[in-house]
Each structure stands twice: as structure tokens, then as C-alpha cells.
Amino acid sequence: MYFFLQIATSGIATGAIYGLIAVGYSLTFMTTKVLNFALGMWVMLGGMLTYSLIVLHGIHPLIVLPMVVAALFLLGLAAERFTVLPFLRAGSDVWVMSTLAVGLLMIDLSEIVWGRSPTPVPPVLGKEPIYLGEVSILPQQLIIIAAACITFLALDLFYRRTLTGKAFRAVAHSGDVSGLMGINTRRLQAVSYAAAAALAGFAGFLVVPLTLAEPQLGTVLGLKAFAIAIIAGLAAPRGILVCGLGYGALEALISGYFYTGIRDILGFLLMILALFLKPEGLFGRGVEERA
């Protein structure tokens, strides 16, 4: 039982990261149906910036956090303007390739700037585990879980309580009609893309003390987060948190009890299964197709 709880706890922390990234896919999906195919690389960029500012420049993490988030937000705005907007017209899908291209550039540029070798980043509250009964948890893991929960709560309030949040949901439902109602859909599209990038940067900031800072950091994270967003439903932010945490725990248990190699494969099999059984996601609502 102890082993089970121990593994599940650290799995949940990983799952919180997945959830944070996954909700980024949902943000852009809701407004433009666009997905940032390189969202994982944005996580990596956030992580590498964190590493650079904390380790190389000795800046306090509490100052680093807003810097990283703001930088990624601005970069996100720029990326949306130059690599998404030009290709949004005429219902084409080529932004798949352009968002991916940005990610490829990021990987190589990071390797040039920071090198390829993985480097550790010290966690904010040290490495001494905290004991909850027998189960130990790293302070950083606690921070991650708390940060994810707060982010999701804030998002939920934003979507349901604020006018802008309601505008988001309106645009998600029908961009054209929202435009006629006086909502600046163009700005919402740009902001949602940048917000997804900022969230990815936040996730990178949180995760990098647990992993190591390296340019290959984000690829798999981004893919797993996508699987989670699909399983939960791209239009269901609450479900994404639940699925993220559950996925993290499940994956940790599988590698704890069985075999690490099978862990990564499982997630994608689950995704394909979910697509087949409930294509709109476990928490998503179906939309009848029209002829």
C-alpha cells in the first residue's frame, strides 16, 4: 500500500504538468480550432529560460517566473501573428506545418545557445522531501500540484464568471456570429494562442527542477499532453485536469509495477481507444454533424 501511494503521489505531480500543457491545446482549440503542434517545444523553451535565468544569471525564482511567462506570452503573440494568422484563411491546414516549424527552430536554437547536455536546476524549496505519513513528496511536486489546481480554478472562474471568458466560449461556439455581436474575435484568437504559450512556459518553469534542462525536454511532454486533451475532450478544461492527474498516476503505477518501456505506449493506445469510443472526449459533449 505504501509503495502504491508513493508512486501514485509522484505520478499525480507529473500529471499536473500534463494537465497544464494540455489545457493550452484546449485554449486555442476553443477559439480558432488551431493547435500549436509544437507546444512541447514551448514548454522546453520555458524550462531553458528558467535554467538560464536561475542558474546562469542567479536571479531569484520568484522574479524568474513572471519573466518567463511574460516572455513566452509575447513570443506567442509574435508566433501567432507570423506563423498562424497568414495560414488561417480559406480553411487550410498548413498551420500544422508552420507551428511545427517554429518548434524545430526552437530546438536547434536552444542547442546552439545552451548546448545539448542536460543540466540540473535547483528546486525553489530545496530537495528535502516532506512526509505525509509514510509517503514522501518533494516540495517541488507539491508546488506543481498546487499551481495546477490554482491555474485550473482561475481558468474555470475566467470562463464562467468574466465577460472576456464568456466571449471566449462564444467564439468557440461560433466565431462569425461572435464577431457580429461585437466581440473582437481577432484579438481573442491572438491572446488565446499567446496564453497557451505562456501556460506552456509556466509548465516548463515548474517541471525543469524535476527533470533536467535540455533541448529535448518538451517533445514527449507535448505529445502526452495532447493525448490527454483528446481523451478528456478538447473543449472540456475541467476534464483535462482530471484526466491529466489520472493519467500521471496511472502511468507512474504502470512503470512502478510493470515495466517502464510500456508506459509511454499505453497513453497513445488509450488515446486511440478514446477516439474510437467517444471522439468528442470523455468530458466533451457531442455535436451533431449537419448536412
Partner: protein
Amino acid sequence: MTARGWLVGLALAALVLLPLFVQGTYYRFLGIVVFIYGIVAVGLNILAGYAGQLSLGHAALMAMGAYTTAILTKALAPVAFFAATGLHIWLGVIAGTAVAAAFGALLAFPALRVRGPYLAMVTIAFGWVIFKVLQEWVSVTGGDLGLASIPKAQIGLYIFDTQSFYYVVLALFAVAFLLQQQLVGSQIGLAIRAMKHSEIAVSSVGINVHRLKVLVFVISAAFAGFGGTLFAHQQNYISPDNFQFFSSVFFLLAVLFGGAGTLLGPVIGAAVLTLLPEMLHDFEKFRLIVYGGFILVTLYFLPNGVMGLLERRGAARADSGSAARDAVQPDFAATAGASLELDNVSKSFGGLQALRDVSFRVAPGSIHALIGPNGAGKTTLINVVTGFYRTDGGAILIDGQAANIASMHDAARRGIVRTFQTIKLFGDMTVLEHVLIGLACHSGAGFRLPGRVQAREQAARNLAAARELIALVGLSRFEQTPSSALAYGHRRLLEIARALAVRPKVLLLDEPAAGLIAEEIASLAEIIRKLRAAGMTVLLIEHHIDLVVSISDRVTVLDYGAVIADGPPAAVQRDERVIAAYLGPFHALA
């Protein structure tokens, strides 16, 4: 032979002769790589370019081919029989292609549920799973170290070296290219291209879109697997690194750069993208920057690829074979209209009852109008009759027989064919092509690639029939015009011609006059009368009361999902409830 045909022939001759003038194996080796990548890119082009299904997992399909043949041939090589005949190599090539094709079918299943970008993301995940399995399943795949000393290609006792293998791969590449050309030019090719623009419209002409999609994935995967097997026997050593995600990006980039949905595009793309890095110093260090930059430059400046730049649209499309014009008569007379009967049909969406206990009968060979205010359930009724929705209750009878219509293509095959309120055409495909797709349903009960002579006869018959239908709706002048370039009224007519090509027993027209000007409505009425004269049953949904009254034999009125009147037009026009439904209760009182 067209100018382009000559160019291709010339290029081929150059590729055959070139090695004779170039010293050393390096360039032949590069040539082999270009041909192999070309084969994979051609396969991806069929899927992504023509069918519009993005895949970023093709490297994994290639890996399936490579690993299958590697494992098989390594196991069989010691057997004396194989060592003497070299048969194991070709067994491996066939097995590798087959295994990849099987995985292609597997990959098609998510594609039945998700489209476009989401499918692309799923294919990335698929590629990644395969990559992981190759890494982890060490006992079979050799893990990260991969598989070494894969036998070289061999026939009898002759073992191919780079010099001679060049010609083998060149020949196989040419075969792959020809296969692509044949496929794209076939009836299947038409349907595949149409699917990219509107899956619903494709199924409305009686084509099973699910089966078509699986077929395209299987074909595309077979190309990738085939390329993979050649790769394995050329390299003699493979590892998971050969089949990374970035290789998949490479192939999609090759297709986009060369020109997606063009015959030569993927070949040009594969060649340029393979040879370009060879010329760049220090390429490996900046590989991703080069590819990333290349992608962006391509998307910005070559949205239709290199071929898009070269192609002068429309001008190149020669008018093929006008001699067949008088060969075949359209056989409307043979298509006796059926009766269509609805018996207590209901359909609801959540709490909304869109159709409640709707019953009426459309007599064979008549024009029957279905009218009603907006939201009365008219389009829902068409959707139910054509199998787009399943009924909640009640029965639909065709010629008195209860029909359990499972899907839109099923309905079309039973002769229940529709047009759409919001026009659904196939983008840049020509008017003629639209109608030919409609005819596909009858060219031998579905999709077979018939033998050449038969195929030619069938094609001539189809062409003649298509031209008759186009003439019927008055679009003969626009035979070679892409549908996207047609005027609005002409698009409506094209939809009707496409539906007619399926030879409907009952034709359902969903607001065909919407947005048409007076003259166009008059010619539409003329066309519909002609259809009745030929014996066809027409169910017409329309708001233009003048049109309805002037041509209909009988009118049914729907309001809030229920039939409120049914009778000859004159009687329905005077019906109090109908007047109330349209103009409000006060008018009825007045």
C-alpha cells in the same frame, strides 16, 4: 504524348544514362536514396495531397517495412535454398509492404473519427509508439543498436552492389510513379480527390467513405513500407534513429514543397530535400533550423509547391475525346421512379422534436413538394430519408418495401439521392469530374480496377453519360471549369447533375431555387419537368411558392415537425392551417 509526358520520359532517360558518366558510387548512392524517399513521398502524396488526410507518421510505416524485411531475410539467409535463389529478399519486400499496409489500415481507424490537424496529431502519436516499440523490444528489433548485416538484394547468385542496385530502385520508383498516375486517373482517384473537399457529398453519390478512407491509408502505407524494405536492403543496417519523427516531417515537407496533389510534386520535393542538405556544409548541426526555415519559406512563398508555380491552370487541361458524344443514350427511361412512403417517422434531438409521426406518400413519377416555414423539419426529413440520421421511430418504404437505410451511401445505392441546401461541391475539381464521380456508383457495383479494354469502354460510356447530364442542366460550356469558379446558380445545377448521375429512383432536392434569379428558376423548373417526363420521382423542398405551385403534382406542408396539410397545390394553398403557419393566426381569422 503531352509535353509533360516527354519531359518525364527525358528525365527518366537522363537518370538511366547519368551514372555512366559519373565516377564513383557516391552519386549512385544518393540517387538510390532519392528514389526510395520518392516512393515514400509518392505514397504520402496520395494520402495527404489527393485525399487531404495529413499524416506525420509515415516514417513509422516505412519502419514497419524495413524491420519486417530485415528480420525475415536475416532469419532466412542461412537456408541454402534462399542463399542460392535470393528469393528471401523479395519475400521480405512483399512481407514488409504487406505489414506496413496492415498498419496503414490500423491507422485509418482514428481517421474515421477525426480529421485534418487532429488526425495529424494522432499520426504523430502513432509514429512515436512505433519508435518506442523499436527501441524497447530489444530481443526482436535490437533496440537502439538496431539490426545490422541485413542481406543485400540478390537474384539467383547475383548480389546487387550500389552500381547495379541503382537501376533496380530506379525501375521500382518508376513503377511506383506510374501506379500513382493510374490510381489518380481512375474512378477511385476521382472519389479520393473529392473526399478531400466534402465527405458528405461523396457519400451522397453512393460511395462508402469509410471504406474509401481505409483503402487510401492502406495504399499509402504500402508505398511507405515498400520504400522501407528497399531502404533496409540498401543500407544493410537500420536503427530506430532512421525512422524518427523528423523523418515523417521530412516526407510531408517533401510533398508540400513539391506540390501536394500533383503527380510530380512529391518526386521533386524528395529530390530537392535529399540533395540540398548534401550541398550544405555543417548541415547536421543545423538540421532542424534548415528544415524549420524551409517549411516556413515553402508555406509563405510556395503555397502550392513548385508544381503550383509551374502549372498554368486550366490551360493545360486538354479536351479529351469529343468523339464519344453520340455513343450512348442516357437511359432515364430505364430508371423508373419509385414511390417513397413515410409511415409515422419521428426524430428528435435532445428535447427538440424535429419530426413527429410524419406520414405521407410520394407517388412514383411525380413531382411532390414539401414546404413549411423555417425550422419546420424539412431538411431533417431529407436527412432521415437519406440515412444521414437514423429515425427514432416509424418506417420508410421504397416502392412499398420497408427500407432500413443505414447510411447516406446506402440510400444512394437504393436510388434515394439528394442535393444539399448548402451547396457541397468538390472545390477545384471540374464540372465533368463531379458528374463522373456520380457515375462511379454504377461502374461495376463499386470500385474495381477493371482490365484495360473494359476500363476504356466503361470510361467512354461514363464520359458520354456525364456529358448528357451536363447538357441537360445546361452546363456544357463549363465542362472543364473547376466548380469553385462557377457562378452560384450554376453550382446549384451542378449539384443536380451530380445527383442525377447516380440514377436516382427518387431525387430529393433541398431548396434548389434558393438564391437563384427568375430566369434560372424557370430553367430549373424546366429541368425538373423533364425528369418527371422521364419517369423520375422528385421530392422538392422549396420556399418559392410560385415554383412549387406551377410544377408540383402534390404538396405536403410541415410545421413544427408535423404534417399539417397534404394535397394538390391548389387545395393546400387555400388550407387555413397552412395560411396560419406561414402568416400567423391573425391572418387566418381575417
